[in-house]
């Protein structure tokens, strides 16, 4: 078991390095990616029995390269038999390799370039997630499919289509230029946060395989932080993940029910994760201009530093939300801001902040808006209206644990007003 774990860790660490090197040498992202997956599979079956080779990365590189050349050979043999296709570029040229010098060892930039490629703006979010997990995370298609609760064939097609789209977009295996880079990095961060949330929100359910995505997102964020130590938002995202994941054991009750932040048993929070997250965000904010991830991490840090919900420094949280709403206005930020404002200035002030959201098409009728309104109405003592709002939220959610939580809140108010 420990041995398997070590093998898997090794494979996952080397996967993006070997893939990056192959693509840099040969282009053809799609094929190189398939070849690396085959090499990973070969290693996963052989290493646990035969022992890990002295230079595991070189082993993977050799096997993957052999797969690639085997394929080219059989293909060129086939092409030779086809008369009418004289002198043309391979139809499937794929991602063009960078023209400049090619160091023969993997470089840090390879993994970063690979991340940018997998989070290519031509791809829909679900495809960016799947491709990142496979090409950078080194997960198998079967693992990714299980984590997303879809059949393996579905995920396999999604990944194939994603790779084709990256190629069709004419992407090159090079680092985005300075003009593009900020925006592209923003996409990478969003994809990693998406992976994290997929896992974190699933940790209520019986499917722990899905919850392991949080660990994978944190691992990838750590790699990214190693590659870009001077980026405050990368540090902020990693801190936010650590501080959020620290709640994991406390966010679900004994019967699988969701426990809101204010009612969580804080002794069950992960102190080591909190210490690391708080140190990371505190340090980043001393030198980086605050971005949305850093501010969200700072808010999570303020929560983490209160030993009881009652001791929470809501004034500081309100100030942080105000800043966040200014630099990254978003109705979901307003929702959270309203809760914090209610804690400082009373539920009416919170409700007033929500009024414009009823007219905003992104939130009108959204179950999260109804849920926050319900909570604030309950604090304001408007029992009947709170109950209606909880029930409206329960009807609107597509999450079973959320529905259950909201129905319980509504039921508690029945007969009180």
């Amino acid at each position: 078991m420990t041995e398997d774990r070590t093998v898997e860790d090794l494979l996952r660490t080397f996967a993006p390095q070997v893939l990056g090197l192959l693509v840099r040498r040969h282009g053809q992202f799609d094929r190189c990616e398939d070849a690396v997956q085959e090499a990973l599979l070969a290693a996963a079956t052989q290493w646990p029995g035969q022992g890990v080779p002295d230079n595991p990365r070189a082993w993977l590189l050799t096997v993957a390269t052999r797969r690639l050349t085997d394929e080219w050979r059989s293909e060129s043999a086939r092409r030779d038999r086809e008369v009418a296709v004289a002198r043309r570029e391979p139809a499937y040229a794929g991602v063009a390799p960078a023209a400049d010098a090619e160091p023969a060892v993997p470089t840090d930039d390879d993994t970063l370039t690979l991340l940018f490629l997998c989070c290519h703006p031509a791809l829909p979010g679900s495809a960016q997630v799947a491709l990142t997990l496979r090409a950078v995370g080194g997960l198998s298609t079967a693992q990714i499919a299980r984590a997303h609760l879809v059949p393996e064939a579905t995920m396999s097609q999604r990944i194939r289509r994603a790779k084709q789209r990256v190629e069709a977009a004419g992407a090159r295996f090079t680092m985005p230029g300075p003009a593009e880079r900020g925006e592209r990095l923003g996409t990478v961060l969003r994809v990693l946060y998406l992976i994290f949330n997929e896992g974190y929100t699933a940790s209520t359910g019986p499917d722990l395989r899905r919850a392991e995505l949080t660990g994978e997102a944190i691992r990838l964020a750590r790699i990214l932080r190693g590659l870009l130590p001077d980026d405050g938002e990368v540090a902020g995202l990693l801190a936010l993940m650590l501080l959020t994941d620290a709640h994991r054991a406390a966010r679900v009750g004994p019967d699988g029910e969701l426990v809101p932040l204010a009612e969580q048993d804080r002794s069950r929070w992960d102190a080591a994760a909190i210490a690391e997250g708080v140190a990371l965000i505190t340090e980043a904010l001393t030198w980086s201009p605050p971005g949305p991830y850093q501010l969200q991490a700072a808010i999570a840090a303020v929560h983490a530093e209160a030993s009881t919900a009652a001791e929470t420094d809501w004034r500081q949280i309100v100030a942080l939300y105000r800043l966040l709403a200014r630099i990254a206005p978003n109705p979901m930020v307003t929702l959270n801001q309203a809760v914090a404002v209610a804690m400082v200035d009373g539920p009416r002030a919170g409700l007033a902040l929500l009024t414009p959201l009823d007219a905003d098409e992104r939130t009108a009728g959204h179950h999260r808006l109804a849920a926050v309104q319900a909570h604030l109405l309950e604090l304001a003592g408007e029992v009947g209206a709170a109950r209606e709002a909880y029930l409206a939220a329960a009807r609107g959610t597509t999450s079973r644990p959320e529905q259950r939580y909201l129905e319980v809140r509504a039921a508690r108010l029945t007969g009180q007003g």
Binding site: L149, M155, R158, T201, D207, R210, S399, P401, E402
Partner: protein, 121 residues
């Protein structure tokens, strides 16, 4: 987001179609299924046998009883489903809008599938 697209139609409506119309209808179904398979959106789908083959269990005098025939005696019946995983509700609705039964008086219901994941509030 995962959606179930429920196909409702009038049983036997294909019997009244011309050969050409029928071919076009099955061609459309094949084309949509192929597209959803290739895009990695299709989770699954099944067609159901004619409603005359249906048994329904209901409570009769306090105990479950097996009856012949469908639950609802309506002109349109539940005929099958597609399960898809797509990026937006708009995309799910777009798939439903192309389903050929709709052209012949049927209907597609687009219903989100409940998720075991949830965010504490």
């Amino acid at each position: 987001m995962k959606y179930m697209l429920l196909i409702w139609n009038r049983p036997g409506f294909t019997d009244e179609l011309s050969e050409q119309e029928r071919t076009a209808l099955f061609g459309d179904v094949d084309e949509i299924m192929k597209e959803l398979t290739e895009s990695g959106e299709l989770i699954g789908g099944q067609a159901l046998a004619n409603p005359s083959q249906t048994m329904t269990v209901r409570l009769v005098d306090g105990s479950p009883e097996l009856l012949d025939g469908p639950f609802m005696e309506s002109k349109e019946q539940f005929a099958g489903y597609l399960a898809v995983d797509c990026d937006s509700p708009q995309r799910a609705a777009e798939i439903a809008a192309r389903w050929p039964d709709v052209r012949y008086g049927g209907a597609m219901e687009v219903r989100p599938i409940m998720d075991e994941a949830g965010t504490e509030m």
